[in-house]
Symmetry: C3
Subunit: 346 residues, 3 copies
């Protein structure tokens, strides 16, 4: 990562209210206060780390306006309204240098069917495949080795990273970002048991992904048996997540890594599922409901509730049960003693 | 998804016993009774939804022969022996239009070693790699960006979707369907701990996949330490499943999404594992045994049994324990009270 | 798998102290004593299987020096110091024949940016992409369809299998082996909730992978928010594992299949996590700590400890609790009885 900003360039991005000290170092990295060294930029995002500022070796430190300390030699403090916002501005700038806007056009090694629609503003990177009838939106970026199946559509400003697969007829909204290895539109897992064999039920539906959805590396969203598997606008999905056929994920949900949603289940808007959560099929998880990591959700979940454990139950009850379970050895001893006392009493 | 059938074409596929009403709409989609609109085909698969027929907006409805209602204007009822079978026939036809038989031949962008055997009936799609000595069967379809390693064999009529990897010397039977991103033949996870380091145990076995096996997106089956990791005929594996080295999966098993089978474990025929189930290594799961979602199987499982929970125990016992756990707070209070009563009595 | 060794060639590799019997068979496979047939090599690795030697059909058997039996006709016993070591030597030789050293050079179908550094000793296989400024070490092997992002670095003697993605600016040490489909450097899962939407926090850090690390098929390691996600030297990671942003994995750890490590968590050296273990974020797992399969680690774990269950607690306590849970139905009955007795007594 070759980032390189002078202190003056940082100041131009972050717009500090005031400045203390100065540095001749060039900023070449970002780090937490304790880990930073010369050439790093750091920041005080949480007041509880205030004491770490005095000893940080960072060359540039973003601090809240009311911060009282003074910098060391060859160190500059930029006092800003919100250090976390200033940091985000700097990160956005770094992001642009890490992933510059690609040059539009179709790479000569890509394989694009003549019936596919690729606007002049789109980038089809090396070794991509775009099948017949596929439609790419404006400024779409297929980075490399991406596969777009027959009659699939990719909305404006989508960015599909290396190795992504969007299978036949699936539809992506605008500004969708798919991390490497994501598979959209693999077959749903549907079989009928006939004379000792599992006969395949054809999976002829599609997947629709809403605007501003992001999906993490190697996650999979299966096509519907018929009709559609849908992921709503603004939802963010982490790595290695499985969304089965005919699932409906609402808007602005968060699915952490390795979550699995079984077939035909519905998540309403703003649902948050912790890592490795699994759900049964054909259930409904209400608006804004949350589940703790590894929960196993077997029945409908009421809107706004917070569940935990397998089978998932209300969070506070589950916490209490988890504590009491650890006291089971003691409880068994207590009951043994009670029985002995009653025997003696008789 | 550009499907398009007239009502007459649907009738020709489904062969209704009788017809009520008529429609001028072209069928362009499939949907459930409640979700369907004009231009959709729907069906009554389960008698409990019978009341939804009267209000469905579907243009074409598949119904059982004894159904009594009458269609709305511009709506046609096809009365068939089994609506679900008729639907499957239509889906199969749609599947053929979604994924038409590919044109045989080797795409000019594919990289095929001259010593590989590719019959004239096979299709090697764009940007595939077929290494030295690999053997493809009749009508094999490598869709795009597929990798077939040295001396691997792929049986007749296999369909390998984009991004599939079949590593050196692995063997697929006939009619195997691998969804995008499947990896067959990655190294098994085997190390010996020598002087503070994990030294690799070479994994020089292979993987054999039986006839009619289907494996879901981004699942992985590791090669054996030596000998073979085997998946039996007719077994269906969902997405993001891990089958470790030297595992033997029997015939006609179902492994739901995100299941993990540890090394050298054997699943006999007709085993069914729910989503996110994990098993220990070197155990045997008997014929027809079932495990509920997220179960953790640590010991052998008897044929025909149904287990649940971590560690997995008989299903009915686990259900009972799960209910009683939620009553633990109450049980502790009851024991507190008993102790107090006995103290008072003394 | 076309392996082929005469008994004399096996003897040359294994260097037996003494030999009994002889065989005219060529060794074409390896198998356990019970499974082996003519043409197979087998071995006695564990004394408890001693009785299986008499009935094995293997043509060549590796045995400890003090083994007393005699071979059958057309069967040879090689008596060696340690059969498992001799076997490993043979496997290493087989490995070399399965995966011979690739020919150096850039395949004509690969897409390599002119500013990337590819030494003459490296192999860039078919349909690989190497972006601008990437640096490959000596003898690096990109097998096929591998993606190396801008300014990423790949150390000497790394082997990256088909479909591997190493994203922008990530760094691999020496002798790193990445199985097919591994993704290094997907974006971390970081969002801030602003006015009803999840706004992306740019993920501008990198991933560093230490020397001698191996990562299994379709596993993912996310890039840091800033700074780095790190996997230490000698650590081995199984398939479908998720390492989140800003995680630090120490040296010589073992992460079994489908493990998920949440963001900013630290694993010290020699940590061992069983399959499907999940950890919370921002916690520390001490040196040499172990967790059983499916454990859910929610708090710091002391060095050297062994935990199990969700939430993870000390292993022995968890085992005891798991057994007592199965006796809960009985415990409830006992408390019912006690209450009834006390009622009667009053």
């Amino acid at each position: 990562m070759q980032i390189s900003f002078t202190a003056a360039e940082i100041a131009a991005i972050a717009g500090p209210r005031s400045t203390r000290g100065s540095t001749s170092e060039t900023v070449r990295g970002l780090a937490g206060l304790d880990d930073a060294g010369p050439g790093d930029l750091s920041f005080l995002g949480n007041p509880k780390y205030k004491s770490a500022v005095a000893s940080t070796k960072a060359s540039v430190v973003l601090l809240p306006e009311d911060f009282a300390g003074v910098p060391q030699p060859n160190q500059v403090f930029f006092l800003v309204e919100k250090p976390s916002v200033a940091l985000a501005q700097i990160c956005t700038r770094i992001e642009q240098s890490l992933w510059p806007r690609p040059v539009p056009g179709i790479h000569p090694t890509a394989s694009v069917d003549p019936t596919a629609r690729v606007p002049a503003s789109a980038t089809v990177g090396p070794l991509c495949v775009v099948e017949a009838g596929a439609v790419l939106g404006e400024r779409v970026h297929l980075q490399a080795q991406v596969f777009i199946g027959r009659e699939a559509t990719v909305g404006d400003d989508c960015w599909l990273m290396p190795g992504v697969v969007v299978a036949t007829a699936c539809e992506l909204g605008r500004r969708v970002r798919l991390q490497p290895g994501v598979v959209i539109g693999g077959d749903g897992f549907g079989y009928e048991f006939v004379q000792g064999r599992h006969e395949k039920i054809p999976q002829v539906g599609i997947v629709t992904i809403g605007d501003d959805v992001e999906i993490g590396a190697n996650s999979t969203v299966d096509r519907a048996r018929f009709s559609r598997t849908a992921v709503g606008e603004g939802t963010k999905i982490d790595n290695l997540v499985m969304v089965a056929h005919n699932v409906v994920v609402g808007k602005h949900c968060l699915l952490c890594a390795q979550v699995g949603i079984s077939g035909s289940t519905t998540l309403e808007d703003y649902v948050v599922l912790g890592g490795q959560v699994g759900t049964g099929g054909h259930i409904r998880i209400g608006k804004g409901a949350k589940a703790g990591g590894q929960a196993g959700i077997t029945t409908d979940v009421a809107p706004g509730s917070f569940v935990n454990g397998t089978p998932a139950i209300p969070y506070l009850l589950e916490r209490k049960v988890a504590v009491l379970q650890q006291r089971l050895p003691d409880l068994f001893r207590r009951v043994d003693r009670l029985e002995a006392q009653l025997r003696d009493a008789e």
